[in-house]
């Protein structure tokens, strides 16, 4: 569905952001794009959406080169950026203007999502808080029914109840022909939704694995004392004890801790990648 080949890009000369970056994303999955501040998460998403152009290499969505922004490509991709602008109109006016660009737009679904988020449809966009506007945009994005859906930090600015609502609407939106990419720092908000983890660092993709493959090979545990643990690949200590990652030798089925995995991949890249190769 999304195919990035040998992508190189830099905002400034001699300061590359991406160097020969490769990434393949398939339909039917929710990809979690993780990376430190400034690693290039948003820039990568903008390449996919055709908002930034590769200096070298290719970025394609459904065989359309993103940079050409052909109508058939734009009809089937929606991106919810982290910072956005909504015009000063009623929601109805917004729908009438923008929905026709998306042939598969589902107005009924839009109203269902708005209801799930508890936003009255007759409200003016200017009378809304940032979080409410974001919910309108997320509802629109899901209702647009595009093959590729890109969400940049979608839970930023959402209050506590709406994070649960967000998980529900995303779970409802997944289908075999859709590819959803979510970049996030708040992995704990989304860790039960994401089924594939993509980590970007050091100008390239350094980790891309299915959650199932991760828990097949690694075991995530909490131990009171490090003496109880053997073969520890990575550990993080707190007042509650030690969160550890070990190779999964006993075919255990532990629950993935994405924050711990992220830190482990960044700090112990060699030993982690050995296990997956």
């Amino acid at each position: 569905m999304i195919s990035i080949q040998n992508l190189s890009f830099s905002y400034r000369k001699n300061k590359p952001l991406f160097e020969n970056l490769n990434l393949q994303l398939e339909a039917g999955h929710i990809y979690g794009l993780l990376g430190k501040n400034g690693a290039g998460k948003s820039s990568l998403l903008k390449h996919i959406a055709g908002l930034l152009f590769p200096q070298q290499g290719h970025c394609k969505v459904m065989d359309f080169e993103s940079r050409y922004r052909q109508p058939a490509f734009l009809q089937n991709l929606f991106m919810v950026p982290e910072e956005f602008y909504l015009p000063q109109v009623h929601i109805k006016g917004y729908l009438n203007t923008y929905a026709p660009f998306y042939p598969n737009f589902d107005r009924k679904a839009f109203h269902n999502y708005m209801e799930e988020f508890h936003i009255p449809v007759d409200q003016r966009l200017t009378e809304m808080s940032y979080g409410q506007k974001k919910k309108v945009l997320i509802s629109f994005a899901l209702a647009a029914n595009t093959k590729a859906l890109i969400l940049d930090e979608p839970t930023n600015g959402l209050d506590i109840p709406s994070k649960s609502q967000f998980r529900k609407v995303i779970a409802a939106a997944v289908s075999d022909d859709k590819c959803i990419v979510i970049s996030t720092h708040q992995v704990r908000d989304l860790d039960n939704l994401i089924d594939n983890i993509v980590i970007i660092d050091d100008h390239k993709i350094i980790f891309r694995q299915n959650v199932e493959a991760v828990t097949d090979r690694l075991c995530f545990k909490n131990v009171v004392s490090m003496a109880d643990a053997q073969n520890v690949l990575f550990s993080d200590s707190s007042i509650r004890g030690h969160a550890i990652i070990t190779p999964n030798e006993g075919a255990e089925h532990s629950r993935i801790d994405m924050e711990l995995l992220f830190n482990a991949v960044l700090e112990k890249r060699e030993s982690i990648s050995q296990i997956f190769n």
Binding site: A171, L193, D195, K221, N222, R255
Partner: protein, 123 residues
């Protein structure tokens, strides 16, 4: 549903679904909620629920009618107990044995405790 920290989500969902069957909320030969409905309700990826369904199907707790959905299998309750017993013996019992070994508790001693417990809770 509140997810615990340690166990894989698909297994926690399996426990949740087994509970619905043991509590008779889902009866034998009933169609259970669809993968999508369960995913929305539990706020998880539908692929995870799919994995749970395949797992429960493997143990003949639910079965699949092509194009219609999953149904509670006959004798599901019996199968669930069998599966839970298997998992208890493999996971929790060794932990328990380790504790009683470290605390020098003999099995005979436990027997009186167990009889007392049964009397006060189940009779």
């Amino acid at each position: 549903m509140e997810f615990k920290e340690s166990q894989a989500i698909y297994l926690q969902i399996a426990d949740h679904m087994c509970e619905q069957i043991l509590l008779d909320k889902w009866k034998t030969e009933d169609r259970i909620p669809s993968v999508r409905e369960l995913a929305v309700q539990l706020e998880v990826n539908p692929n995870t629920v799919m994995r749970t369904c395949e797992y429960l199907q493997q143990y003949e707790i639910i079965y699949n009618k092509r194009g219609i959905g999953y149904f509670v299998a006959p004798n599901a309750g019996k199968k669930i107990k069998q599966l839970k017993k298997e998992r208890f013996l493999a996971n929790e019992l060794p932990q328990f044995f380790r504790n009683i070994y470290l605390l020098d508790i003999e099995l005979d001693e436990l027997k009186t405790h167990y009889e007392k417990y049964k009397k006060s809770h189940f009779r």
